[in-house]
Symmetry: C2
Subunit: 371 residues, 2 copies
């Protein structure tokens, strides 16, 4: 089956398709893409998504409302996995059979869409939920983990995140993109097939906006990029570095909010994934894989975690913004979860019962032979 | 046994004590306080708390480190409840036997203390964790809920929160106070005895600072207090009001981040609990109790929730700040928790799949006869 467009860049391949319900699908591979079945969708009907945003006047942030999750008439069999390639055409999934490594498609039940209609008049500061929500499937192996991917596949994932961001950047609607992976039943994940999501916003959300402001302030005050000073200080101390591959490194930051919080970052100022050189991206991929493996080895269980990719807002060039990945492991000790309670949610400040230097030493000492 | 000081105000009573390990204890009651046992502490040794704060340079907030939880040599029996009155002197709890309704004492393992020593030099922007952490025991009944308290007892709790805030305000160290209750095993609570906590900060944390800024901005732009405009708009619409007692009311705000998020607020601009009149406080207590009972009745299970009390910062008078309580129920449907995932933590914006108008209608329709 032929896709709509097919592109080859360096050693990577991608091909675009349209699903029966109109949603876009892109397949990515280290080998040329080959599709050997129909392009499926769990339902042929387009979802009538009418997401809405409302302004929180005392926190200064938008809240998204997606009340269109009704009408979900599709009743899957118990073992049905919508992220696996379709094996039974009676129960189509989101993906076709074929040769490819990663897949990206528009979320069937998005919190934001580019086509969001103007909502009926509502309480003050109600507007259309304009943006986009995509699903990124990391692998065809339903039982695998992100860290089971090869170095080259993780490097491809970084390219995919970069590609999605560049696509949004080429329009004039999207101002900020967040890629993330939430993993673990402990944090509400019911679909174990390795996958992540992308949220694309038509505005700059609070966390990205604050990071940009503070990084710009640092640059203005010191004349240095924040990332350069941070990497220099961490290398000078060495105490909190988990792995240093030269072009990229991982660190438990001195201000970690989660006990084993780990940041992966390039060693030079870069604001978007698309700016990484091939060598930097490959080093970044190795460091990321290493960090993920250490978290699973730490207590001998699959660590529940949230992984977020922080890139510069897209409303203008922001070279001061420090591209990095933040990994929040939710276990603070064997069997003990970190919960966001009073101070975290009520005040906006985290309490952590272990110093980052101690956590980093534990992560360095992990035995990776048995992972 | 005589307390250090004893005070009677109107129909409430309080008495102060010092625990064997030096920590402060205050008992509060609707009747005169009578203590019929020694004032206990789980351990006679003072905890050597050395909390530290570090600055998060890309979020602009402090992170608290409390690494002094080692040295916890006390091994309680399985059924030991440190918040119950001491019944076996071999295993002293935090509280004596006697006649009282509520108790407040300094947390044995605080994230912040007024005595925090200057830490050894650390990564940039490390400083002493100056502040205070208190435990507020709502009742002597270990199996009860906050909503099982009488109207008068809940009104007393509001007075206790006001009293603790006023004490901190009378010094010049504490700039912001957050009282909260986190309830439910689902959110990490292991101690079911009804209780809450108080965090007192030597600075204004991000959430309170942002609320103050935005409320001041509203007042400057409109000439009205935010709370007056909010209450007027909600009463005009009526759609989101859960209960209106005239002097105080509860509302699912139009910008609710949690599905059944409920705010309790006075009907006129008030910035601190201590400013409420007796009648306003009693109405506030009735509305709070009603909101809590509805949450438990909604799905017929004890709703896990976070309750936070938002009062003005203490660094100056801030009449623009809207005093209110925010209740975050963690269930968005029967058996379905709300988790803070990618967008909430990575972007700082919540996604909610039910409109507040619908949630408020459900809460109004709850049958309270069977609670």
């Amino acid at each position: 089956m032929a896709g709509m467009t097919s592109t080859t860049t360096g050693h990577t391949h991608q091909q675009e398709f349209k699903k029966p319900d109109g949603r876009a699908l892109t397949l990515y591979g280290l080998q040329p893409i080959v599709v050997t079945s129909e392009i499926p969708s769990p339902s042929p009907e387009a979802v009538d998504a009418r997401p809405v945003m409302r302004w929180h006047p005392l926190r200064g942030e938008w809240v998204m409302y997606a009340a269109h999750r009704l009408g979900r008439t599709f009743l899957p069999p118990p073992e049905y996995n919508p992220l696996a390639p379709t094996s039974d055409p009676e129960h189509p999934t989101e993906l076709p059979r074929g040769t490819y490594d990663l897949a990206v498609f528009a979320n069937r039940f998005p919190s934001l869409t580019l086509e969001a209609p103007e909502p009926p008049p509502g309480p003050a500061h109600t507007r259309a939920g304009v943006g986009a929500c995509e699903v990124v499937v990391f692998s065809q192996n339903a039982a695998g983990r992100l860290s089971d991917l090869s170095d080259a596949q993780i490097s491809l994932l970084l390219l995919v995140w970069a590609d999605r961001t560049s696509r949004f950047a080429s329009g004039d609607v999207i101002k900020s993109v967040l890629a993330f992976e939430n993993r673990g039943v402990e944090v509400g994940v019911t679909l174990h097939h390795p996958h992540g999501q992308i949220y694309a916003y038509d505005h700059v959300p609070p966390v990205a906006g604050r990071m940009l402001d503070l990084a710009q302030q640092h640059q203005a005050e010191t004349g240095h990029a924040w990332i350069s000073d941070f990497v220099a200080a961490e290398r000078a101390s060495g105490e909190r570095i988990v792995r240093d591959e030269g072009l990229s490194l991982s660190v438990v930051p001195p201000f970690a909010r989660y006990t084993y919080e780990t940041w992966i970052l390039p060693a030079r100022p870069v604001s978007l994934l698309s700016e990484l050189t091939d060598d930097e991206r490959d080093a970044f991929a190795r460091v990321l894989k290493d960090a993920l493996l250490r978290l699973d080895a730490l207590f001998g269980v699959r660590m529940p975690y949230l992984l977020t990719v922080h890139q510069a807002p897209l409303d203008a060039a922001h070279p001061e913004f420090p591209l990095h990945i933040e990994l929040y492991p939710y276990l603070r000790a064997p069997g003990r979860m970190k919960y966001l309670a009073g101070t975290e949610q009520g005040s906006g400040e985290f309490a952590n019962d272990k110093f980052p230097e101690v956590a980093a030493a534990e992560l360095r000492e992990v035995n990776l032979d048995h992972v």
